[in-house]
């Protein structure tokens, strides 16, 4: 386990923007496409450093997605940036047909995932994207929880010869890992070892899960905690290993409980190791405007709800 005491906070989109600049310096195949929100997605940093390799296409996400396909066909490694709502849904079919089907090395980095878009309201809160993108063949789907793992994820995305969907937060996240975190696509990171209940968390929910695990530990319940930063391909081995040991699983995601992490875990458990499961996330509802903390509480996604979910699912053990 490679964790560091929280030093400061940073939105993962900032780590993305910074890493793009580093990558741009190291590899001139990197190009960045943007749809008029470069200050939000942080690609303005790349634009300043490498204006020739930055293309702001205006508010036209579908066009942007296919332009990236054209650039990838010509040997470039494009990053496409926008909000998650638009990356996964406005340009959904373009991603599927022009990027995923020809299996091009296009990296789709999207900000404002889930409730981290908080007071912008529902139109800008993507709570469906993981389920949508997961259904598309050839896609790799990532949501690292903090800045250091995001930096690693951006680099890993470049190395994968195929499309990657990288989900980022609008708001600041604590720094959990140190800079040498062993981030590998498709390999969960075990944050805590325990034998009583498994919590599988992704993205910003990793922090709620950590806090829940600490509170449960105070009650004598030991949590096996996995940072499942790769939703697809899912680290089935790590999941089964943990589920076999604990016999009870909770998933935690800033997303609808239909289609995303909870679904992926349910599929894997059903096929390999039927285990009681509770899925924490938005219970198939749209949210509303509000502060991030208020929203997590209101929709039953904060640490105390996770504690409760863990207790409930443990009662269902055989």
């Amino acid at each position: 386990m490679t964790t560091a005491a929280p030093k400061r906070e940073l939105p993962t989109r900032h780590a993305y923007g910074e890493t793009l600049v580093e990558l741009g310096r190291e590899d001139d195949r990197i190009v960045v496409l943007e749809a008029d929100i470069s200050k939000s997605t942080q690609t303005y940093r790349f634009a300043e450093a490498f204006p020739d390799r930055f293309f702001n296409v205006g508010v036209a996400e579908q066009n942007m997605m296919c332009m990236a396909a054209g650039a990838a066909i010509c040997g470039r490694i494009p990053f496409v940036s926008t909000y998650a709502v638009f990356g996964s849904m406005r340009a959904c079919e373009q991603m599927r047909t022009s990027v995923a089907y020809p299996k091009l090395n296009v990296n789709i980095a999207v900000s404002h995932a889930g409730l981290t878009a908080y007071d912008d309201g529902v139109t800008h809160q993507a709570v469906e994207d993981l389920g949508i993108v997961r259904s598309i063949p050839n896609m790799t789907v990532l949501q690292p929880c903090d800045a250091p793992s995001t930096r690693k994820a951006v680099r890993a995305a470049v190395e994968i010869d195929g499309p990657v969907y990288l989900r980022l937060t609008r708001i600041a996240m604590p720094i959990l890992y140190d800079d040498n975190v062993d981030f590998q696509i498709g390999k969960a990171i075990r944050l805590r070892t325990g034998g009583d209940v498994t919590i599988v968390a992704v993205g910003d929910m990793v922090f709620q899960a950590r806090e829940a695990a600490e509170r449960l530990a105070a009650q004598g319940i030991e949590v096996d905690l996995l940072d499942m930063h790769t939703i697809k391909p899912l680290d089935v081995d790590a999941l089964l290993d943990s589920a076999t040991k604990t016999g009870a699983v909770v998933t935690a995601e800033d997303h609808n409980v239909l289609g995303g992490l909870g679904s992926a875990v349910a599929e894997a458990l059903g096929e390999h190791c039927p285990t009681p499961l509770l899925r924490v996330g938005l219970q198939d509802t749209f949210a509303q405007s509000g502060s991030y903390g208020d929203l997590l509480r209101h929709y039953g996604m904060d640490a105390s709800h996770l504690v409760e979910a863990a207790q409930r699912v443990m009662r269902r053990k055989q």
């Binding site: 205006g58 066009n63 990236a68 066909i73 010509c74």
Partner: protein, 276 residues
């Protein structure tokens, strides 16, 4: 084959005739496909592949080659026929169109067919793909040009106009759009379904250089392609008026021949009209 070396107008006309024959044979054998839009595009595809474009069929991935994106992907039989005749693959593959395991998918798949530059079939996306290629060509300081063939019905798709606006912003003179303007879409004429005129005005309002020609008049096609090549201020669109099903009297301007394969008898009649 380098640009302009290839053929005189008569031999181009002959090639176009052959591509029409190939297309109909392929579609007949496949038992499905889109003859109308293959025949309407035959002269344009011929002029591009056998005259205008800078290609090396023996080296399909030659980085300096001109690119072609068939945005109206359903018209692919005529493109496959052109690629086969240029030697990108054995013409025997033409008999396998749409069959399981074939390199010639129902809609173009760049990872299966040698010589194909892009995967297409969902209408409205090709101009964006071509724009990406054109921008990278400029970035890489390569002299290649990118041609995108659009159907007319496809102009209903908003994404075409997203790409049009963006291409004008970047003044990509190495990008040429060719519209196979046969004025028929699946459900009816453009005018019935969604009128397009005044089409030049529309493209000009996006700051494109717009030309209109008869898309079956070979010298006119060659002239327009030259004019597009010489226009250095930005992208050019060639609005090529064509006839759906061109060359086969019973298919010409017939909506019903958008997506139906000819049976043996119909193929025979068509081949008689197209000549030996």
């Amino acid at each position: 084959m380098a640009r302009g070396q290839a053929h005189d107008v008569d031999s181009l006309r002959e090639i176009a005739r052959q591509l029409r024959i190939d297309s109909l044979r392929m579609i007949h054998l496949a038992g499905g496909g889109h003859p109308g839009g293959s025949l309407s595009a035959a002269d344009l595809v011929t002029a591009l592949y056998f005259h205008e474009m800078n290609l090396r069929s023996e080296e399909p991935d030659w980085p300096d080659r001109d690119r072609f994106v068939l945005s109206k992907g359903h018209g692919c039989p005529v493109l496959y026929a052109a690629l086969a005749r240029l030697g990108y693959f054995d013409p025997q593959h033409l008999d396998t169109l749409r069959k399981f395991g074939t390199i010639l998918q129902g809609h173009p798949d760049m990872n299966k067919t040698p010589g194909l530059d892009a995967t297409t079939g969902s209408l409205g996306q090709g101009l964006s793909v071509g724009l990406g290629m054109a921008l990278i060509g400029r970035l890489d300081r390569r002299a290649y040009r990118v041609f995108v063939m659009l159907g007319c019905g496809e102009l209903d798709e908003g994404q075409v106009w997203e790409a049009a606006m963006c291409a004008a912003k970047y003044r990509v003179a190495n990008l040429t759009a060719v519209i196979d303007y046969n004025q028929l879409q699946l459900d009816g004429t453009n005018d019935e379904i969604m009128p397009l005129e005044p089409l030049e005005d529309k493209w000009r309002s996006f700051n494109w250089n717009a030309l209109r020609i008869d898309g079956h008049d070979m010298p006119a096609i060659l002239d327009a392609l030259r004019a597009a090549r010489e226009h250095e201020q930005g992208p050019t669109v060639i609005i090529a008026k064509t006839i759906k099903g061109k060359g086969v009297s019973f298919m010409e301007d017939q909506l019903d021949w958008h997506g139906v394969a000819p049976n043996a008898e119909q193929l025979e009649a068509a081949l008689v009209e197209l000549g030996p």
